[in-house]
């Protein structure tokens, strides 16, 4: 096979590229330039796509012995991921930009380009497993539960996954680092990246503030009584308890949590912990990673609503476009806009965007 290995400059994608070469594929390394104004250096675990990262990717490709190019995806990334991130926050939702990047950039823009240029697939350093099962080629959780990234890949449809290769899914992270060292890749000890890559300071609220501006609005309780004021509803997240600066004390001093963000009226609603409980989730814009579950039927499975969140036992049903989930045990705090991923044991069934909760 002819493969494009997406190389971020980190240890995972470097080892993934090397393994693709070992598998006998013809591999070309590509680093995606996602920022039109990249920073020179990476600071700690924050940020990616610095000039240093592109250098690290190039050196890894040299060591592996594959051609290397840089593809400019800055415009696509800005339009498809950064702008969407801002729009979602402005609309009072909590988006996950990594999901969006996989869906719109890595396995859309890059995969499309790769295929047009005559390549068969894109290999990345994501931790997830593709397996041949009686249901076809299906995606499963990674062997390393701490690194499992199947959640952020659940936005890929069947045809995108058919063009995806994840060479690291069967390996633990520590072993990947050891292997990188054995292969002479000097990124072996490079820290993992966390946080949102285009917010290099790590200060999401400040970053949003700079771009969405400050608009004061009321903080109210469930009955609508004003308890305080905020400087921009988007800086709050559902379930947040600290930093509310409420001026009216609660009866009995019980803590209050953010329950809802209403962008139209620029209002933040707070209330008791019990009010955060969610036992029903509705998701829209469903994407299926394998066969579509039969409509009009109830299925047993697990729901996950955060990248490294718990798998919550549930019953779900779908009409193909929307997914409705009934959790066995209620969970506390879920924002619209979050990604809802459905698993059948360790197999990823599909995903949807949370549109309503009860």
């Amino acid at each position: 096979m002819k493969i494009i290995a997406a190389m971020s400059g980190g240890v995972d994608s470097a080892v993934a590229a090397a393994r693709a070469v070992d598998a006998g594929d013809e591999v070309i390394g590509v680093h995606l330039a996602l920022s039109s104004n990249p920073q020179k250096y990476r600071s700690g675990a924050r940020g990616c796509c610095t000039i240093e990262d592109s250098h690290d990717a190039r050196r890894a490709a040299d060591v592996i012995g594959i051609p290397f190019y840089i593809w400019d995806m800055a415009e696509e990334f800005h339009e498809g991921v950064v702008e969407n991130f801002l729009e979602e926050y402005a609309a009072g939702r909590t988006p996950n930009p990594c999901l969006r990047c996989n869906e719109k950039i890595k396995f859309a823009a890059v995969l499309d380009r790769a295929k047009a240029l005559g390549f068969d697939a894109v290999a990345t350093g994501h931790y997830a497993q593709m397996r041949q099962t009686p249901l076809g080629r299906t995606m499963h959780r990674a062997e390393d539960p701490l690194k499992d990234q199947s959640y952020v890949l659940a936005v890929l449809n069947k045809s995108q996954l058919d063009g995806a290769i994840f060479p690291l899914g069967d390996t633990h992270k520590e072993e990947v680092r050891r292997e990188a060292k054995r292969r002479g890749l000097y990124v072996a000890n490079k820290p993992d990246s966390h946080d949102i890559c285009f917010v290099p300071s790590g200060n999401n609220a400040g970053w949003l503030h700079d771009r969405l501006g400050t608009e004061a609005g009321p903080i109210v309780d469930e009955a609508g009584t004003k308890l305080g004021e905020h400087q921009g509803a988007y800086t709050y997240t559902i379930g947040q308890r600290r930093g509310l600066n409420l001026t009216v004390p609660a009866a009995g001093g019980v803590p209050r949590y953010v329950l809802k963000i209403e962008p139209l009226t620029n209002t933040v609603v707070v209330g008791l912990k019990e009010s955060l409980a969610v036992s029903e989730i509705e998701g829209e814009k469903a994407i299926w990673c394998g066969p579509v579950p039969q409509a009009g039927q109830e299925h047993r499975g697990y729901a996950q609503i955060r990248a490294h969140g718990e798998a919550l036992a549930c019953t779900y049903s779908t009409d193909g476009m929307q997914i409705r989930v009934l959790l066995d045990q209620p969970l506390l705090g879920l924002a619209t806009g979050q990604g809802l991923v459905i698993y059948d044991e360790d197999r990823v069934v599909g995903s949807a965007t949370v549109s309503a909760t009860k």
């Binding site: 990249p38 190019y69 840089i70 400019d72 696509e76 499309d112 380009r113 047009a116 240029l117």
Partner: protein
């Protein structure tokens, strides 16, 4: 078979240059030392200076050795700017053509940001030649305020030769610098006859080694130095002279001088063969820039409906080296500022590739290129249309 069509980026060292380099690198001595060993190396450096002066139509004292073409251009631009501004504080205008190499554009931009320079760009025509009427107008309106005018001798991306003697005539007593890195050794270039105040030439573009270049600077004219410490080159450029590279540069320049006309004819025919062969398979190719007067070996072609970095990747996989123009510090290919300055749309600029030929290239290599180009263009078109 590997086919290298990027000789404008760098070209193989010539045999005389390799021999001179390997011989000189074994000789002990710092050319500035006063003892026997020092004098012996100094003698070779001065012979090299004379050889380069002969090849460039300059006198030996007009040759100032530097470490790269970029350094020579920086020295000329910043040196003239500081010198002339020091003489008259109103002289802060720098006039350059809109399609100079980054080794001119970037120091000029830096002077604008940090040193109060005011930059005026001379527009270029669709054919890739600087607009002399516009230059006349700029000089008429700003004569007293202009520190330096810089127009390249030939453009590195499209190969067009610029009317430098006309620029000099318009400039009058204003210093004119020309970046002749691509021209020297390939087309007629005579420093004295051109009448420019300074010119940049570089070793590795003419079959010499990397890491050596020269600023030709007219006798009796000084510029403010950038590097201080030793004053080796007319007190204008300091740093231990790189004797092996200088001697090798001279051998390459002399070799280039001897064979220039024959090579010119060969390369011009080869370029025409390349254009004809590719146009026969991909008929909608557009050739950018006038092909006369021009460097003989440069063909800059627009392949409509493609993205040039896709073309480059696919050609590279076939063993064929070409160029997309410059990339930013992160390695991202940018649309060529040269083609944009000539009035091409960003889309067309992003669809253009440069093939630059050298004497080692053959018709067989071009045949190989023509045999793969249509499938390469087809795939690059598909890649763009899916975006």
């Amino acid at each position: 078979m590997a086919s290298y069509f990027d000789h404008a980026a760098t070209t193989p060292m010539s045999l005389p240059a390799i021999e001179a380099f390997t011989e000189q690198i074994q000789q002990l001595g710092n050319p500035s030392s006063l003892h026997t060993q020092g004098r012996s190396v100094r003698k070779r450096v001065e012979e090299a200076r004379e050889a380069i002066a002969r090849a460039a139509g300059a006198s030996p004292s007009e040759v100032i050795f530097t470490g790269s073409g970029t350094e020579s251009n920086n020295l000329a631009i910043k040196g003239f700017y500081w010198k002339r501004l020091g003489e008259d504080k109103n002289r802060n205008v720098i006039v350059i053509s809109a399609f100079e190499h980054h080794a001119i554009l970037d120091p000029v931009e830096w002077l604008e940001e940090h040193e109060g320079a005011h930059v005026i760009q001379i527009p270029v025509t669709r054919e890739g030649v600087v607009d002399l009427e516009a230059l006349k107008d700029i000089v008429d309106k700003n004569r007293e305020r202009i520190a330096v005018i810089a127009v390249m001798h030939s453009n590195n991306e499209i190969g067009t030769i610029q009317p430098i003697m006309d620029v000099v005539a318009i400039a009058g007593d204003i210093p004119v610098h020309t970046d002749a890195v691509q021209s020297f050794g390939k087309v007629a270039f005579d420093f004295t006859q051109l009448g420019v105040t300074s010119a940049t030439i570089s070793g590795h573009k003419v079959g010499g080694p990397l890491g050596v270049a020269a600023l030709l600077l007219r006798r009796g004219i000084d510029v403010t130095p950038i590097l201080h410490g030793g004053g080796q080159e007319r007190d204008i450029r300091s740093g231990t002279l790189n004797a092996p590279a200088i001697v090798s540069f001279a051998a390459a320049a002399t070799d280039g001088q001897i064979h220039r006309e024959a090579r010119y004819i060969y390369l011009r025919e080869l370029r025409q063969y390349l254009i004809d062969s590719l146009t026969a398979v991909v008929p909608d190719i557009v050739v950018n820039g006038d092909i006369e007067p021009a460097l003989p070996g440069i063909a800059n072609l627009t392949f409509p409906g493609t993205e040039s970095d896709g073309l480059l990747l696919l050609l590279d996989a076939e063993g064929i080296a070409s160029s997309t123009g410059s990339a930013c510090s992160a390695g991202v290919p940018r649309p060529s500022h040269v083609l944009l300055a000539m009035g091409l749309s960003e889309r067309d600029a992003r669809s253009s590739l440069r093939f630059s030929l050298g004497v080692s290239n053959t018709r067989a290599e071009i045949d190989q290129l023509s045999s793969v180009i249509s499938s390469v263009v087809e795939r690059a078109r598909a890649a763009l249309s899916r975006q």
